[in-house]
């Protein structure tokens, strides 16, 4: 029982504490790839600390929805951090839901954030909210069909079950259908976390941004919570990619040594994925908003191919 609690706390601490570092690492790598020195990887911690010291300005138009949303967003990510296998294949709330729960928890955050975007009555917030829910809605079928492809191969949709089954049977992983599902999920990750070429997290040009337009009214500790939650979302998506598609080194049994080794393995996989993401982000230009559905349709096609390959190979 005590072990479970410690495991849960360790996992939440890893996600909550590691997420800003991951974002910082991504920014550093991107800067190096285009020949800049860039900020140090731990810069996001300093940014968050600065935001926490500042006053928050709240619009006179806004209602309680605006003030509650950052907390709801952070809560959804913290709960997702208890469900996703990060340090253990069966984390504390692993029995309480599966990947569909995780995706709908992300949706809960998006729902409130989009409402907050509308709440201040600014045109930018509404525009960002409308675009964000459009991208999220169109990404949803890909996620679920890619999950379907995984569930078909692993014969379970319990996240822990999928990880353990794939770790036991490497042949299931070395399979074209699995790689197709990975590609589909990777594209969805880009769309859901607002990275290039779908959205540009570094822009502050009102007419092109999606996520940043929606959170334009936030400042102070509210903005800190929103940024922190976005970082956790990126961390969780990359962890899902790392542990579902390359399930080695995820300990099944709690214990100090296996968890430490698992954390090292996860760190290695995350660094590789971040490097891949940095290369993608520096080598493509942002798509026009109305070309994004084509990208998502492409990722949906990959996911469907992955599912059909299971039917054909059975």
């Amino acid at each position: 029982m005590i072990g479970d609690v410690i495991g849960a706390l360790a996992q939440v601490a890893a996600v909550a504490g590691g997420a800003p570092l991951l974002v910082g690492l991504l920014r550093t790598l991107k800067a190096r790839l285009v020949g800049r020195r860039g900020p140090r990887p731990w810069q996001p911690y300093a940014d968050l600390a600065k935001l926490l010291r500042k006053d928050a300005v709240v619009s006179t138009t806004a209602s309680w929805v605006f003030r509650v949303t950052p907390y709801v967003l952070a809560a959804t990510m913290l709960v997702a951090a208890l469900v996703v296998p990060v340090l253990l294949s069966r984390p504390a709330l692993g029995h309480a839901g599966n990947i569909i729960l995780v995706m709908y928890l992300f949706m809960l955050g998006t729902f409130f954030l989009a409402l907050a975007g509308l709440d201040a009555g600014s045109a930018f917030g509404g525009m960002g909210a409308s675009r964000e829910v459009a991208v999220a809605a169109l990404a949803e079928p890909t996620v679920i069909v890619a999950v379907f492809a995984l569930a078909l191969r692993a014969d379970t949709i319990d996240l822990g079950g999928v990880v353990e089954r794939f770790a036991r049977e490497p042949l299931l992983v070395a399979n074209p259908g699995h790689l197709l599902a990975f590609a589909a999920f990777f594209i969805v990750m880009i769309a859901e976390t607002g990275r290039l070429p779908v959205d540009n997290p570094a822009t502050h040009l009102e007419l092109t941004m999606i996520h940043e337009a929606m959170v334009l009214e936030y400042s102070g500790h509210y903005l800190a919570l929103v940024e922190w939650a976005s970082a956790m979302k990126l961390f969780l998506f990359l962890t899902l990619l790392a542990n579902l598609f390359f399930p080695w080194g995820v300990p099944a049994e709690p214990g100090l040594l296996p968890v430490l080794l698992g954390a090292l393995a996860l760190g290695g996989k995350l660094v590789l994925l971040v490097a891949l993401l940095a290369v993608v982000e520096t080598s493509v230009a942002k798509l026009r908003l109305f070309r994004v559905p084509e990208l998502l349709a492409g990722s949906f096609a990959l996911a469907v191919l992955s599912v059909t390959s299971v039917f054909l190979l059975q």
Binding site: V58, M77, L93, M107, V133, A137, I144, V307, L312, Q314
Partner: protein, 637 residues
């Protein structure tokens, strides 16, 4: 006086709910009064499925009637029709023979027709809505009548209970014909695409407590009929019945939510979303029928239980949303979202109710809509247990359709709540709105509690629903509950514990808040006007509109919406730089009305015009028709 009548209906609703739950738990009874109606007499029978739908009527009718005390108590018209409507809906699931069923069904249709017309004096729209409704519902009735009379003729009995035993001896073609006719009739009532055209017209035209019952319960009786026909009356049919139901459900879900997404009229939006939710129910039901015909009874139970769960969930949250929308209409006098806004400050109770309903219908955890969609997903994801690739593909369509529907429903209800309740009021009436009266609040609060309870207590509700499903498939009920808190599906395939998720969410809300309070960050806050690139004044005209919010979807799905943009600019005669009037319209065209109903109606008109030549006005010619008909009958006999 009307208030007392509404309270009486509320009490009757509570009785129905109790009787229905008793029926679900296995209390069976039957009642027969031979002399009351011809052809077998009045015959009622209670079984778990009938009990489930009786309880559904009661669960929605009781809060809606309490709400009506505050909403419509000043108005005598419509009270009798309302009571008749609720009564007829309660008799439909209990009916045990053809004539009892059809009489109750028709009484339900006529009462709802009268209710749509209660506001006819104020709007011409209601008259045409009622007309379309009457035509569609009677076309459906004709299909039902044909299907039931054919079955009664072939099996030699008008009692539903005798059909199950007699149907397997029929020719397969006969069973197929009967199923198609019954399915058409029931789908027309359920609002399945493309038989949905009456629904978005009729539901908004009725008073809101009636809209709540029409969307929440009446269309579900179409689902009831489909389940009865496909599983109970005609046993496990061929696989294509289930596949057809699943595909019709997937199409209805996606098309329904796409229409809801661009709708400006708040109540029409909710009506379209009912089409979507019936689609989700049918996806689960179709999956259950497919598994049943493949002999996989455990999975059939899962699919059917998911469908039943979504049926009751939709009744609760859609009734809640219609009641909240009714409170908005009551307070502002408009259903147009572009004239609303900012209501969260003037109507906090209604806004809270609408927000909770929106989160539930958008399937957000941990509320009830999430639980039933999750269960539907778990049923669909196990399709590989049927080793037939073409059926697996049908399931894959269901999965993709359900996922897309889930995403679009989030967008749709962000828009519905955000535009209606947040930011600044867009119209005069919205700025002077008042919150709902205590009776209306009580009705909404009861339904809101229902949303939360059904979200947190699936371990209590699901075994009962699996029992209802088992009564249709004849399979034993498996253990679907791990402990009091966790659902488990098909052994270790998937698990869900909404109470644990809720506790974790509450902790996740409280801990960061406490941490921020401890370092003093949460207190530093000041209010200022919205940032607007340096402009001087923040007005409602700068806000995003409902039309603009839906525009990305219009562009992405333009093959479906076929939007028409119209921009009229009137300039001053002296200089075109001075704009006097500017009118912008961006409306969508209905695929089904343009390509299906208009051509069909045009053909009908042409045929009618040709047939008019027969009616020449000459008495001699008419006498000749009679003679010819007589001769033809003599020859044929």
């Amino acid at each position: 006086m009307p208030a007392l009548a509404y309270l009486a209906v509320a009490a009757a609703g509570a009785v129905m709910a109790v009787a229905g739950v008793a029926g679900v738990l296995g209390v069976a009874w039957s009642l027969r009064v031979e002399w009351l109606v011809p052809l077998g007499g009045l015959e009622l029978a209670m079984d778990p499925l009938a009990g489930f739908f009786l309880a559904l009527v009661g669960i929605a009718a009781a809060p809606a009637s309490i709400y009506a005390v505050g909403y419509a108590a000043g108005d005598r018209r419509g009270v009798a029709a309302y009571a008749a409507f609720v009564g007829a809906m309660a008799v439909v699931p209990l009916a045990a023979n053809v004539l009892t069923f059809l009489l109750a069904w028709e009484a339900m249709s006529l009462a709802s027709y009268a209710l749509i017309l209660t506001e006819a004096r104020r709007s011409r729209e209601a008259v045409s809505a009622a007309w379309v409704y009457a035509v569609m519902t009677h076309a459906g009735l004709a299909c039902l009548l044909a299907g039931m009379l054919l079955l009664a003729g072939w099996t030699g009995s008008v009692r539903f209970g005798d059909w199950y035993a007699a149907v397997p001896s029929l020719a397969p073609g006969a069973a197929n014909v009967a199923f198609v006719l019954l399915a058409l009739g029931f789908s027309a009532k359920a609002g399945v695409i493309p038989l949905h055209v009456w629904l978005p017209r009729a539901h908004p035209a009725a008073p809101s407590h009636v809209s709540a019952l029409m969307s929440g319960v009446m269309i579900k009786l179409g689902v009831y009929g489909l389940l009865r026909a496909g599983l109970d009356w005609m046993g496990p049919g061929p696989a294509w019945w289930g596949a057809a139901v699943l595909l019709a459900g997937a199409v209805s879900a996606v098309v329904g939510v796409l229409y809801a997404l661009v709708e400006r009229d708040l109540k029409r939006l909710l009506a379209f979303s009912s089409i979507e939710n019936v689609g989700i129910v049918l996806i689960g039901a179709g999956a259950g029928m497919l598994f049943h015909s493949a002999g996989l009874d455990g999975l059939a139970l899962l699919g059917l239980a998911a469908a039943l769960y979504h049926t009751v969930n939709h009744a609760v949250f859609k009734a809640l949303l219609f009641l909240a929308a009714g409170a908005v209409v009551h307070a502002t006098g408009t259903r147009d979202m572009e004239a609303l806004g900012g209501l969260i400050k003037r109507m906090p109770w209604t806004a809270g109710a609408f927000l909770l309903g929106s989160a539930a219908i958008a399937a957000l955890p941990p509320l009830n809509g999430f639980v039933s969609e999750w269960l539907t997903f778990q049923a669909l994801l196990q399709s590989l247990r049927i080793p037939r690739p073409e059926l697996n593909l049908v399931f894959a369509v269901g999965i993709a359709g359900l996922a897309l529907t889930g995403g679009l429903a989030v967008a749709c209800f962000v828009r519905a709540f955000g535009i209606t309740f947040l930011a600044l009021p867009r119209g005069e009436a919205a700025g002077h709105a008042h919150d709902a009266s205590p009776a209306m609040r009580a009705g909404m609060a009861a339904l809101a509690l229902g949303c939360v309870a059904l979200g947190l207590g699936p371990t209590l509700a699901l075994p009962a629903l699996a029992g209802v499903a088992a009564s249709m498939t004849g399979a034993p009920v498996p253990r679907g509950v791990e402990d009091w808190l966790t659902l488990s599906v098909s052994g270790q395939f998937a698990r869900l514990s909404t109470p644990a998720v809720t506790l974790a969410l509450l902790a996740g809300l409280a801990l960061p808040a406490a941490a921020l309070a401890a370092i003093g960050a949460g207190r530093r806050r000041r209010t200022y006007e919205t940032w607007g690139c340096g402009r001087l004044l923040q007005t409602a005209r700068m806000e995003y509109t409902a039309t603009a919010f839906a525009n990305p979807f219009k562009r992405v799905f333009d093959f479906f919406y076929r939007p028409v943009k119209q921009l009229d600019i009137e300039v001053h005669p002296e200089s075109r730089l001075f704009v006097q009037r500017l009118q912008y319209e961006n409306r969508t065209r209905s695929l089904f009305e343009d390509w299906l109903y208009r051509p069909a109606l045009a053909t009908l008109h042409r045929g009618a015009r040709r047939a008019r030549r027969l009616q020449s006005g000459s008495a001699n010619l008419y006498l000749m028709y009679i003679l010819a008909a007589l001769l033809a009958m003599l020859v044929l006999a």
